[in-house]
């Protein structure tokens, strides 16, 4: 996975995050949740890398690790070539201006006792981006940028709808002039008609401001709409990664194919063959050995049960972690053969 010639804006190397859970009296061993396991990733400047996966796959944890909102158990994150872990507190603080996050819950992520103007201005003041009357002007500009009005600055969050609150959240994130934005399920709490408004806003802002997005969502439709590249996570690992069209038209990993076929498509005719996976996602406390997906996989072979497949890149920037369906190299004979049939028989 080599980035552009300028190098990636954000890079993760061997990222691991384990959380300990459960009660521990007198040093009794606790359970370990393996939220993120050995993730390598490079996000290019100006692109949207979308991450999909089901609950507990580690996608939100990965987003927080990239911002160093939580510390990795192992591995490192580089922002613009700088290792986050090596930065002093002061350097990290100034870097915080460059990377921001938009949360899922537009209700819980805004302080209800603060006026919108103060919420948006907080970052501006902390980072001393503007002073005095300039702060108010800057807030007005930001509100305008996200489709709100200057007079909204005097109101409280509860006076706004879910979609408007999400706009406030975006204005707050943009206030410090970031280059990189982690969007963690930013539209999943919103109604369908409003969801589209916020998706369009994020898209416009990216074009206008040259932002780089790490976009996390469980809804593959939303991710696919906004992303240049898509990563699919399963139990803490990236199992497939590639350009959007490549992933949608030539998915390799059986899990990716199941996810794609499970997406409800608003077309009663054009329903592809459904691949219905059996069973639930296993617990990240005790992930299965070998390929973590093997207990639910119709194609699992003996070695899938014992040997973990590495994420290996084939042609067209497409990488997959699967023993059975690796990505063929560019122009290789297996290339046109594309993927195996979606279902057996």
């Amino acid at each position: 996975m080599s980035g552009s010639t300028n190098g990636p804006l954000v890079e993760a190397r061997g990222l691991v995050k384990h959380f300990t859970v459960g009660r521990s009296l007198l040093g009794r061993p606790r359970d370990v949740v393996r939220a993120v396991e050995n993730v390598d990733l490079a996000i290019r400047s100006g692109e949207t890398l979308g991450v999909v996966g089901e609950s507990g796959c580690g996608k939100s944890t990965l987003g927080r690790l990239l911002l160093r909102l939580i510390e990795p158990t192992m591995g490192e994150v580089l922002f613009d070539g700088k290792r986050l872990a090596a930065l002093s507190a002061r350097e990290l603080r100034s870097l915080r201006r460059e990377m921001q996050i938009v949360f899922q819950d537009p209700y819980g992520s805004l302080d209800p006792r603060m006026r919108v103007g103060a919420i948006v201005a907080e970052g501006i003041e902390i980072h001393r981006i503007a002073r005095g009357r300039r702060v108010r002007e800057k807030v007005a500009e930001l509100l305008h940028e996200v489709g709100l009005r200057a007079e909204h600055a005097d109101r409280y969050p509860h006076e706004f709808s879910g979609g408007q609150r999400q706009r406030i959240g975006i204005a707050r994130a943009l206030a410090v002039g970031p280059r990189f934005l982690v969007c963690d399920e930013p539209v999943s709490a919103l109604d369908v008609s409003v969801q589209a408004q916020v998706i369009n806003l994020l898209h416009e802002l990216q074009k206008k401001l040259g932002l780089t997005y790490f976009f996390v969502a469980h809804d593959l439709r939303v991710v696919a709409h906004l992303s240049h590249r898509i990563a699919i996570m399963y139990l803490g690992r990236i199992v497939e990664l590639g350009p959007r069209d490549e992933i949608l038209s030539r998915p390799r990993h059986p899990y990716t194919r199941a996810l794609l076929s499970a997406v409800p498509n608003p077309d009663p005719e054009g329903r592809p063959q459904r691949v219905i996976l059996e069973g639930d996602v296993p617990s990240p406390i005790a992930p299965p050995p070998g390929c973590a997906f093997h207990p639910r996989c119709a194609y699992a072979e003996e070695r899938c049960r014992v040997e973990r497949p590495e994420l290996i890149e084939g042609g067209r920037g497409h990488a997959v972690a699967c023993h059975v369906f690796p990505v063929p190299a560019n122009g290789a004979p297996g290339d046109e053969a594309q993927a195996a049939p979606l279902t057996r028989g």
Partner: protein, 346 residues
């Protein structure tokens, strides 16, 4: 079995459910709010009706009204609900209780809150059977295990002794379904049954519901905000907006040729995997506050087709083609426009 009126389920009563001109109001701190304003919905026996709309449109209120579970603060102002020929609104609570769970069952979005955490799932299913079917303890338990098998829970004998918290979200929803179908209901109301679930689990549950519906010959009301789900699962669709049905149609025709600007807007605002578009169509503005509804058509503030007439008059739900109804003076469907132009809308 001894339900009054069940005799009326004569062959030929094609409609298992008929909601007619239902008006429901809620007493709130800010005064009286009208949650449903003249909702009419027919459901044919053996079919699935998809009830679609965004938060606050009244889709769940409609379901609760059918079950007469609206609660203290609600008042049915007018309208009628007929289930299998039987008028539900005048029924006493005892008669209603005999219907609920037995002939009309419901499953909810969040199974954890609908299951009792201190009883095993087997006990909870058996309880319903003992109540409605007057089964003995052992027989009810055996049937509960059978039901868990029917909803494809692995090792049903062992799982029957599990408590809800020991099960995954998908398994809990299966238990809810097992409980709902245990008495062989004629009508199953599923309120966002897969919204809290992951996509692959959602596919499992929808597949299960589809299979059970045809095996058991149930009719179903599927309430969802996701038109994608409706496309695959429903025979008919009703789109609701701000307490009213704005469009009703067989599923295919709705997706091919939506008539109401709101339906068309909803459809266009779903990102699609098979189409690449730069800009996603979106509907401007937000759903109106039920306490401050616009005059005339409630969608007009957000509608690109709106004209002065939309503010002055209430558009009524009118049939413009067989089985297709729309409440709009300026529909987006050519066919509906022609029908309206011919005066058929009056």
């Amino acid at each position: 079995m001894t339900v009054p009126g069940s005799v009326a389920s004569a062959p030929g009563s094609e409609r298992i459910l008929e909601v007619r001109d239902l008006v429901v109001e809620f007493e709130t701190e800010r005064g009286v709010t009208r949650a449903l304003d003249g909702v009419s919905l027919p459901l044919l026996r053996g079919q699935t009706l998809g009830l679609v709309g965004e938060s606050g449109c009244g889709k769940s209120v409609t379901a609760l009204a059918v079950l007469r579970l609206l609660g203290e603060s609600a008042r049915v102002v007018r309208g009628e609900i007929r289930f299998d020929g039987l008028s539900l609104l005048p029924l006493g609570e005892r008669e209603m209780r005999a219907l609920r769970g037995k002939r009309i069952a419901m499953i909810f979005q969040e199974p954890m809150t609908s299951l009792n955490p201190v009883f095993t799932v087997g006990d909870q299913i058996a309880e319903a059977l003992r109540l409605h079917e007057r089964m003995g303890k052992r027989e009810a338990w055996a049937r509960a295990v059978e039901m868990l098998r029917l909803v494809e829970i692995p090792e049903p004998e062992r799982r029957a002794s599990s408590y809800p918290h020991e099960l995954s979200g998908g398994m809990r929803q299966r238990v809810m379904i097992a409980m709902a179908i245990s008495c062989g209901p004629d009508l199953l109301i599923a309120d966002e049954p897969t919204t809290a679930l992951d996509v692959t689990i959602q596919a499992q549950i929808l597949d299960l519901l589809r299979g059970l519906r045809s095996r058991l010959g149930m009719s179903m009301i599927l309430i969802t905000h996701d038109l994608g789900i409706v496309a695959a699962e429903a025979d008919e669709v009703a789109i609701m907006y701000a307490g009213r049905v704005v469009e009703r149609s067989p599923t295919r025709s709705l997706f091919d040729d939506p008539a109401h600007p709101y339906s068309a807007g909803l459809l266009a605002s779903i990102p699609r995997l098979d189409l690449r578009t730069e800009q996603l169509a979106s509907i401007p503005g937000v759903v109106p506050d039920p306490a401050h509804l616009p005059s005339g058509c409630r969608f007009r503030d957000r509608c690109a087709n709106a004209q002065p007439r939309c503010a002055a008059e209430d558009p009524r739900l009118v049939e413009f083609a067989p089985g297709r109804l729309v409440a709009c003076f300026f529909p987006v469907s050519e066919r509906a426009r022609v029908a309206a132009g011919n005066g058929a809308a009056e």
